[in-house]
Amino acid sequence: MCLGIPGRVLETWRDHEILMGKVDFDGVTKRVCLEHVQEVTPGDYVLVHVGFALSQIDEIEAQRVFAFLAGMEQLEELEVPSLDERPGSEPVR
C-alpha cells in the first residue's frame, strides 16, 4: 500500500502557517507538505506520499544494506561454494 517516493527538497515556505516545499523527483517537481519534517533544509531527501512528506531519508541508514553485501562478498570468497554446487538453489521455475 501507500506509494512513497524519495525526493530532494529544493525550497521551503509557509502557507497558512503550514511548512510547504518544492520537492524534486529527478527533474519533476511537486509542491509537498513538509509540516511533519520540520527540520529539513534544501538538499535533504524526504519520503513523499500523496503530496505529504512522511519522513526524512536517513542517508547513513540507506547505505547499510550495501555495506552488508560488501561484507558478505568478502566472506563468500573464503567459504561459500559456487552457485551450481549448492543444494536447494533451483529457482521456482
Binding site: 500500500m1 501507500c2 517516493i5 524519495p6 531519508i57 544494506v65 538453489s89
Partner: protein, 373 residues
C-alpha cells in the same frame, strides 16, 4: 533516482537471493502485508528468483481493495448530489460499488475529480465556495497524516464547504485477524514500511510475543524486499521471532511524532468493516467529535444501503493469505480488472489485479522464456 535506483540493482538483488538460498533449509510461508510490496514482487518477478521452499502470500494491505462496498455506495450517493465536487485518489475511481464505479457516475454528469493529494481537495474547496467539496479519505496509517492535515487545513482556513468521507483502516488488527484464523499459514511477516514511517513499530512487539511470528519492517524496492526476506528467513531458521527494521532509511522506532499527534487530534479508533474480510474491531479511524462538522456522512443524507457480493469470489481467503489468486475459479475469466468480482481485483494494488496485470493468469500454461537481448 537516488534512493530508488540503487535498490533496483541486479547485482545486489542476486547477492541477496544467493544469501537467501544458502540460508533456507525447509519450506516457509511469508506474507508481505502491503499491496505496494505485492506489486513489486510481481513487477520484478521476485518470487521466481527465490528458492522453491519460500512461498510468498499476499496480505490485505491495499486500502482501495478493502474499502467496504457499503462505503463505496455511500460515496456514490454523495457524489451524485447536485452541487457536490467529489474528490478521490485515482485508483478509487474504478472500484465498483453496487451501482457501478465513480468513473461511470462522472460520465452521467457528476463532478468527480482525481486529486493527487488531499490538500488539493482543500484548494478546490477554497476555489469553489458555492460548491460542497467532499474528499474520499481512505487509506492505512500512511495516508492518515495527509488526510488529517487536509481536515486541519480546512478548519484553519475556515472552509465550511469541505468535508471528508472517512474510511481509514489500521494494519495491526488485520494482522491479528489473520493470525487468529484456524487455517492461518503465515509464519512470518514483511511489515508495512510506509505505515511504520508514521506510527513506528512498537505496536508489532506484542504481536510477535503473542503469536511467535517474526515481523521485519520492509521497504518497497526489490533490494529492500529481498533484504526483508533474508532477515525474516534468518529468524525462522534460527527459531527466533523478533521485530526487526530493514527499512531504517525511512522508519524510526517511534515513527513520526508530529504525524502521530495530528492523527490523534483528528481521528479516533473505531470498528471497521473490510471488504472481503468483514468487521474487525478497533481496525478503523473516524473523525473525533470535535471534527464531526467535517464528516461527509453527517452532512449528506444517504438512504439505507443494500449490498450484494459475489459468492464465487475468494478474496477474503486471499486477503488472509490462505489462498492465492489462481485458486479462484473466476480468476482471469469471470473476474478481471474490467469486471472485478471482489476486493482483490478492484484495485491495481490488490493481489488478484497485480497477478493479472503482470500476466499471472497465463500461468496455467507453462511459460518458456528466452531472452534474446
Amino acid at each position: 533516482m537516488k534512493f530508488l535506483d540503487e535498490y533496483r540493482d541486479p547485482v545486489a538483488a542476486q547477492k541477496l537471493v544467493r544469501a537467501i538460498e544458502s540460508m533456507v533449509t525447509r519450506p516457509w510461508t511469508i506474507m508481505e502485508v502491503c499491496g505496494g510490496q505485492t506489486h513489486t514482487i510481481v513487477k520484478y518477478g521476485i518470487d521466481e528468483m527465490l528458492p522453491a521452499a519460500i512461498e510468498l502470500v499476499h496480505g490485505p494491505g491495499c486500502p482501495v481493495c478493502v474499502t467496504s462496498l457499503e462505503m463505496i455506495d455511500r460515496a456514490h450517493a454523495i457524489a451524485a448530489h447536485p452541487g457536490v465536487i467529489f474528490c478521490s485518489f485515482g485508483d478509487m475511481l474504478r472500484v465498483p460499488g453496487s451501482r457501478g464505479d465513480l468513473l461511470q457516475l462522472k460520465s452521467q454528469g457528476s463532478d468527480v475529480r482525481v486529486v493527487y493529494s488531499p490538500l488539493d481537495a482543500v484548494t478546490i474547496a477554497a476555489a469553489n465556495p458555492d460548491k460542497e467539496v467532499v474528499f474520499f479519505a481512505i487509506g492505512f496509517e500512511t495516508t492518515a497524516p495527509p488526510n488529517a492535515m487536509a481536515i486541519s487545513m480546512a478548519k484553519r482556513r475556515g472552509l465550511t464547504n469541505f468535508s471528508a468521507l472517512v474510511s481509514h483502516v489500521l494494519v495491526p488488527p488485520a494482522m491479528r485477524a489473520i493470525l487468529d484464523a484456524p487455517d492461518n499459514r503465515v509464519q512470518a511477516f514483511l511489515g508495512p514500511g510506509h505505515v511504520c514511517t508514521v506510527v513506528g513499530y512498537a505496536e508489532y512487539g506484542p504481536i510477535v510475543e503473542q503469536y511467535g511470528v517474526p515481523i521485519v519492517i520492509t521497504g518497497f524496492e526489490p533490494v529492500d524486499m529481498l533484504e526483508g526476506l533474508l532477515m525474516a528467513i534468518t529468524q525462522l531458521e534460527e527459531g527466533r521471532a523478533d521485530v526487526e527494521n530493514a527499512y531504517g532509511r525511512a522508519v524510526r522506532p517511534e515513527g513520526n511524532l508530529a504525524s502521530r499527534a495530528l492523527i490523534d487530534e483528528i481521528f479516533e479508533v473505531c470498528e471497521r468493516k473490510w471488504r472481503g474480510v468483514g468487521m474487525i474491531p478497533g481496525s478503523g479511524l473516524r473523525l473525533r467529535a470535535a471534527y464531526r462538522g467535517f464528516d461527509a456522512e453527517g452532512r449528506f443524507e444517504v438512504e439505507a444501503i443494500q449490498t450484494l457480493e459475489s459468492d464465487v469470489c475468494i478474496s477474503g481467503d486471499i486477503l488472509r493469505g490462505v489462498r492465492k489468486p489462481q485458486d479462484c475459479p473466476a480468476f482471469g475469466t469471470a473476474c478481471t480488472p474490467q469486471m472485478p468480482l471482489g476486493a482483490t481485483m478492484v484495485s491495481g494494488e490488490g493481489a488478484c489485479a497485480a497477478y493479472y496485470a503482470y500476466g499471472r493468469h497465463f500461468e496455467a500454461a507453462p511459460l518458456k522464456v528466452h531472452h534474446a537481448v
